[in-house]
């Protein structure tokens, strides 16, 4: 197990170091998330009576759109420069590649979310319970990345991968997104305790999705 985790750590180190130099995912992700928040702020007529019901959905739409960009990039870049074969050649468990990509996606998406959240709070004039909101974001992001990483690996082998990724991904993400929006909505408006069942459900989703995706990833990446 230590060797396995060491490999995962090495793969994450490589991805984050690459990203720190190119900033491909962070720059586009932050810009895209903020654009969505601003545009929807103008497009939706929000008042005091509906902001708590609508704003969590807006927040997650921005996260999901920005996250899809980053997740698609994770495998597309490896495929485009041929380095993914180098990973497959190495004597490592394919599952380590999957977990490393999930961890990298969660980290990068998390940064985008942490930048976007305060701006969202100002734009939409909400003051959420921060702990519950951050918990919902963390758990929702793990679930989103768990499925997204697997689907991105599949889509990277297709001709129209930019189209295939959202087409395959969004339907599969519906349960995670619903639970994330509900947990976030509870944290923003209703009694704080109301978010707990949704957070528990998200934990269940995350465990199930990571485990299932981990097991099938090996078959997805075989040529």
């Amino acid at each position: 197990m230590p060797a396995f985790l060491d490999v995962v750590g090495t793969l994450v180190w490589k991805d984050l170091l690459s990203e720190s130099r190119t900033k491909d995912v962070l720059s586009t992700g932050v810009a895209f998330a903020l654009l969505v928040l601003v545009m929807l702020n103008f497009a939706i007529d929000l008042g005091a009576e509906n902001v708590e019901a609508v704003a969590p959905g807006v927040l997650w739409v921005s996260f999901i759109f920005a996250g899809t960009l980053g997740i698609g990039h994770a495998f597309a870049a490896e495929r485009d420069r041929g380095t993914f074969e180098g990973l497959l050649l190495a004597p490592i468990d394919r599952g380590a590649i999957y977990l490393a990509k999930v961890a990298t996606n969660v980290a990068l998406m998390g940064i985008v979310e942490l930048v976007s959240l305060p701006i969202f709070a100002v734009l939409y004039n909400v003051s959420p319970a921060w702990l519950q909101t951050l918990s919902a974001m963390a758990l929702g992001t793990i679930g989103f990345s768990a499925v997204g990483t697997l689907v991105a690996a599949i889509a990277a082998n297709t001709r129209a991968r930019e189209l295939m990724l959202p087409l395959l991904l969004f339907p599969l993400e519906v349960p995670v997104v619903i639970a994330s929006v509900k947990a976030t909505a509870a944290a923003m408006g209703a009694a704080e305790a109301d978010s707990l069942p949704w957070l528990q459900l998200l934990v269940g989703f995350d465990v199930m999705l990571v485990a299932a995706s981990f097991l099938v990833f090996e078959y997805v990446v075989e040529e």
Binding site: A3, D6, V7, T10, L11, W13, K14, L17, S18, R21, T22, R81, G82, T83, E85, G86, L87, L88, L89, A90, P91, I92, D93, E222, E223
Partner: protein
């Protein structure tokens, strides 16, 4: 006109009689892409320490053969054994014993030369990787450039770094797809010395007949999805190899495409 595979030419080991499992053994290897058959029941055995150069025209399947032997694509039929083990049963152990150079260098352009080697050393769990990385970089003449990003290297230097990456974990088997691409004379001499000084089993492809004679101690010709010729390079000079290659791959009267 020499075409498909007379069984005597798809021959096996140089001695054909090794008691232990040969490092590389392919039997009835078939690879198809859609309805196009690239390898058509190829048999190949490479004995321990043999350096085999595979020649063939464009599209003859050289790269496909290297990729199949390296476990990067699953054959449509037949079997591949690396040191007696199939990929299905000994995947990680087999991959640790192989160093592969392909047209893609498997290098991360935004990482430095040193960081690229560090990354692969960790994946292959190379003991005392820093010493080993220093050693291979010095051999390939890249140690002074270890702090530069891979993206800034010329094609020839990138190829040298690719070779350093493939040698980093000291594999017993090297699969080299056109390793001479982009190398200047000095770098090629280094490659030649590296292949000769250590007892490794090597399968390489090249389009350069002279390079094949210098790098390998056996020459094989791949054509029509089979090995149609295989001969010790000591028996050949460049002219004899060119004649033999032309006879194996083309209808009489046409110039050889190398």
């Amino acid at each position: 006109m020499v075409r498909a595979a007379p069984s005597g030419l798809d021959r096996l080991a140089p001695d054909g009689s090794s008691g232990s499992a040969p490092p590389i053994e392919a039997r009835g290897l078939r690879v198809t892409f859609g309805d196009q058959a690239v390898l058509r029941g190829l048999d190949l055995v490479v004995g321990a320490g043999t350096r085999l150069a595979v020649l063939g025209p464009n599209g003859s399947g050289k790269t496909t053969l290297i990729r199949a032997l390296g476990g990067l694509l699953r054959p449509t039929g037949g079997r591949i054994l690396i040191e007696g083990q199939a990929y299905s049963s000994g995947g990680a152990a087999i991959r640790r014993s192989i160093g592969l150079v392909s047209h893609q260098g498997y290098l991360y352009p935004e990482l430095t030369v040193w960081e690229n080697l560090r990354f692969y050393a960790k994946l292959y769990r190379v003991p005392e990787w820093e010493d080993r990385a220093r050693e291979v970089l010095k051999r390939m003449g890249l140690y002074q450039r270890r702090a530069e990003r891979a993206a800034s290297l010329s094609r020839g230097m990138a190829q040298r770094l690719t070779l350093a990456r493939a040698l980093l974990h000291d594999p017993s088997i090297l699969l080299l797809d056109e390793p001479d691409t982009g190398l200047d004379a000095r770098a090629f001499a280094t490659l030649e010395a590296l292949l000769r000084e250590v007892e490794r089993t090597v399968v390489l492809t090249t389009h350069d007949l002279d390079h094949a004679l210098r790098l390998a101690d056996e020459i094989a010709v791949l054509h029509g999805g089979h090995l149609v010729d295989r001969v010790p390079s000591a028996h050949l000079d460049p002219t004899a190899l060119r004649d033999r290659y032309a006879a194996a791959t083309l209808p009489r009267g046409e110039p050889a495409e190398v």
